[in-house]
């Protein structure tokens, strides 16, 4: 038997800056050619575990460790970061941030340059790595000219040039649209088969990773390994649900229908799952027992954009004859790939950019003559990364900023800010500095700083990007509560779960056009729209087909309605 590439034995770790250890009694071995998925809620220590594998711990982040962790049989403490990086190649989560070179070729060459590899070997190895990930036709491109998926391929090529024994992926799906995420998993699988390198994937989007098979899933919680099982065994247990990890949607649907999930069913993928006729019948009768989707009454129009066309100064036509309406009190999603025009559309609505043709009406009034600041009294815009909006050290001042610039009296500011802080669940933190808050809480502060201006509608750019299931649920339930209180919410996203679970309606952009405007269940069961907008069909659709349900779209819709009922209860 081979010696393991990485082995943890009764390993524990505590960061210098923290009072409690982050990892406890870790026992884990990764052997040659294995493909292992590590899942766990935020703060469970999975990122710390990854740092211990690639050497960032102990060499970049300091702390106390107990037990042992070895790479190719040698204690990592006795090696150095560079030696470890020859064995363990890491693809970080932020594929844009880790792009170091000015062009693709230089970025791939980076590790080789640092190892003083000379031409012609240097160019040959860069070409080979670029071909392995299918980016060879873009060697001279700058990072700004690449899509998210292409940047990730470059990052992967950049670690593959070194012929590492283990590839470590830290949240590889975080910044990708669903279709690109799917091809990323296929690429990882292909490289696994071809090179025989061991693969470790850290990700909380379980269903999306399982698009391709893995050998084991390691479940972490509170710094410990709770389970280290083959996928089928783990998925048929209650461990995932009990620890804040979302199980694949088709399994949730099976449970609702009363079907017991067993390892023999091969539940790790919707393509392999085997159901008996009796079990299919159970799914069907559950479907028929659910009430049909209630169509809500039509509410008055809030925003009505008609035939909007917009080109950037460089001539790029970002919006072409786009018509979108938003009704009062709706919670909708605007979806589409990067560059499809969804962000540009929201910028035009907020007045950051001025449309060349078309007309935008808000509550029936022409919107064209209003300035950016005047529009902001009606429509608020929340950026993706809260750090891009926070400019005051104290929470109160941050939320008060928009009122102060509008010259509101200090008395009134106090009451309005305090009311908003209560609504946003930030009341206990009102005297805290912003820097002491978690990412999710900072996000709330930015939303509060917009809500305090009392807009009728807020637009959020990727409200849940980079959040695990628990924080995602927290943010989204908060937005749903605001929505019930009367605020119209528009979310720009490429997260399908978010669309499906929270948005009543989805407007789909592709290449500057609106290609669909339908219920989210409708969009995610329409193969044509899915293909054009880089989405992925939901596994619920496949489950409905597999169970012989003639109206898969209605099945998806009833599932969502039921989920909302369950969440409310």
């Amino acid at each position: 038997m081979d010696e393991p590439i990485i082995a943890f034995h009764d390993f524990g770790f505590q960061y210098n800056a923290q009072a409690e250890p982050t990892l406890h009694h870790i026992d884990l071995e990764i052997r040659k050619g294995e493909k292992v998925l590590i899942v766990g809620p935020s703060g469970c220590g999975k990122s710390t575990l990854a740092h211990c594998m690639n050497g960032l711990i102990p060499f970049s982040y300091r702390g106390e460790s107990t037990g042992s962790v070895t790479v190719r049989g040698k204690e990592t403490k006795a090696l150095n970061l560079f030696e470890i990086s020859r064995t363990v190649g890491t693809v970080l989560q932020d594929s844009d941030g880790q792009f170091i070179g000015l062009t693709v070729a230089e970025d791939i060459a980076f590790a080789l340059e640092n190892n003083c590899v000379r031409d012609p070997e240097l160019h040959a190895r860069v070409d080979k790595a670029a071909q392995a990930v299918g980016i060879e036709s873009h060697l001279r491109h700058a990072p700004g000219e690449l899509s998210g998926g292409q940047k990730q391929r470059v990052a992967l090529a950049g670690v593959m040039v070194d012929d590492v024994d283990l590839l470590l992926f830290d949240e590889p799906l975080a910044n990708l649209d669903p279709a690109t995420g799917k091809s990323a998993m296929e690429l990882i699988d292909e490289i696994h088969t071809r090179t025989g390198a061991a693969i470790v994937i850290i990700e909380h989007r379980l269903e999306d990773v399982l698009h391709r098979d893995v050998d084991r899933i390691v479940l972490m919680c509170a710094g410990r390994i709770l389970a280290d099982l083959p996928p089928d065994a783990l998925l048929s247990s209650d461990l995932l649900r009990d620890n804040g990890i979302r199980e694949p949607l088709y399994l949730t649907a099976l449970r609702y229908a009363g079907v017991t999930v067993t390892p023999e069913m091969l539940p790790h993928s919707i393509r392999t799952v085997r159901l008996t006729e009796k079990e299919k019948g159970m799914v069907q009768s559950w479907f028929h027992s659910m009430p049909p989707h209630a169509v809500e009454e039509t509410r008055p129009l809030l925003l009505d954009a008609q035939h909007v066309t917009f080109s950037y100064a460089n001539g790029h036509r970002a919006l072409e004859d786009v018509s979108v309406y938003v009704r009062k009190g709706e919670l909708i999603a605007i979806v589409g790939t990067n560059g499809a025009g969804k962000s540009t559309f929201s910028k035009v609505v907020c007045g950051f950019e001025k449309e060349q043709e078309g007309r935008i009406e808000f509550t029936g009034c022409d919107w064209g003559t209003l300035s950016l600041k005047e529009r902001a009294d009606h429509v608020g815009y929340v950026m993706q990364n809260p750090n891009q909006m926070l400019s005051k050290p104290m929470i109160f001042d941050e939320v008060a900023l928009g009122l102060r610039t509008r010259g509101v009296a200090e008395e009134e500011i106090k009451t309005r800010v305090e009311d908003t802080l209560r609504v946003c669940g930030l009341w206990p933190f009102r005297k805290w500095p912003v820097s002491a808050l978690s990412y999710g809480q900072k996000k709330r502060v930015t939303i509060a700083s917009i809500l305090v201006l009392e807009p009728e509608m807020i637009i959020l750019d990727e409200p849940t990007a980079g959040q695990d299931y628990r924080h995602y649920t927290e943010i989204m339930e908060f937005l749903r509560k605001l929505n019930r209180d009367g605020i119209t919410v528009v979310m720009i996203t490429h997260d399908m779960h978010l669309m499906l679970e929270y948005a009543e309606r989805s407007v789909v952009f592709s290449d500057g056009h609106v290609i669909a405007n339908d219920t989210s269940a409708g969009v995610l069961t329409d193969p044509d729209v899915i293909a054009r907008a880089n989405l992925k069909e939901t596994s619920l659709y496949d489950l409905a087909l597999a169970c012989g349900i003639a109206e898969p779209r209605e099945f998806v819709q009833r599932f969502i309605d039921h989920e909302r009922e369950v969440a409310r209860a």
Partner: protein, 276 residues
């Protein structure tokens, strides 16, 4: 403008020189033109720089922005010298040939005009070469060039990183400023200075904080890929020297030598035609 480099990719002998050659030539040429006021050498360098500019296939309209910027600077430089030191030429050349008077100390002399002519020639001799460097050096080659002339690679690479991130940071600045304006931050010139400084902080603080996040990611990514491990590194974009590179560097070294020789022969930096 995406960054300080305005690389224009056109096939020319100048483009084919390596980045390191161009950097060395730029330095030698600038020293040559800066160290002497010998009109004969300056005229020669000016004419040669125009020829080189033509050979490089860079067109004047490609660099019109930079040219007009430098032209304004040159005029300003000359005007200020005349305003503050109208008799500087007389002091330098030791004779006085007045042409006409503007009243008071402001007497226009041949010596002063000759001094200004030399000053303008210095601009004309250097600007085309600077523009050539900026327009024909691939930014990817720049860090490698710095490293080749002896700058430590960790420092040279930081230049390259800055070039990589400038467009991203510009984009982020733009986005943050739009979002903050929507909250009522005024960026217009109508505001007084203190208010404008406050407004600027509402954009700069978030920009700095998110840049800090960026720095952590990038430094981890660089270390994980072996940056700083060895004393040396190779460069993907570096090209070996060709005979043309050696010829170009030798010629520029010759110009610097000529400049120094003339300074010695003239007994100072100024070539004086007024006493013969």
């Amino acid at each position: 403008m995406r960054n300080i480099f305005n690389y224009i990719d056109r096939p020319s002998p100048i483009h084919r020189l390596t980045g390191a050659t161009k950097l060395v030539c730029l330095l030698l040429w600038s020293f040559a033109a800066m160290s002497t006021y010998d009109t004969r050498l300056l005229v020669f360098l000016t004419l040669l720089s125009f020829v080189l500019f033509y050979v490089s296939k860079i067109r004047v309209r490609d660099v019109s922005f930079l040219l007009s910027f430098m032209a304004v600077f040159m005029v300003l430089n000359n005007v200020l010298i005349f305003v503050f030191a109208p008799q500087h030429g007389v002091t330098l050349y030791g004779t006085s040939h007045p042409i006409f008077s503007l009243g008071g100390n402001y007497v226009v002399t041949k010596e002063q005009l000759f001094y200004h002519l030399n000053l303008v020639l210095k601009y004309f001799a250097t600007i085309p070469i600077v523009l050539l460097f900026v327009c024909t050096t691939n930014p990817s080659e720049f860090a490698a060039s710095l490293n080749r002339i002896g700058v430590k690679y960790t420092i040279a690479y930081s230049v390259s990183l800055a070039l990589r991130y400038i467009p991203d940071i510009q984009k982020e600045y733009h986005e943050i400023s739009q979002a903050q304006q929507a909250r009522g931050i005024e960026m217009s010139r109508k505001q007084n200075l203190i208010k404008r400084l406050k407004s600027a902080s509402a954009i700069l603080i978030p920009l700095i904080l998110s840049s800090m996040d960026r720095i952590e990611v990038i430094s981890n990514a660089m270390e994980l890929r072996g940056f700083g491990k060895e004393k040396k590194r190779t460069w993907y974009m570096e090209r070996p020297f060709a005979p043309a590179d050696f010829v170009a560097m030798a010629l520029c070294a010759l110009f610097l030598a000529a400049s120094i020789a003339l300074n010695i022969a003239n007994g100072g930096r100024f070539w004086n035609p007024f006493v013969s």
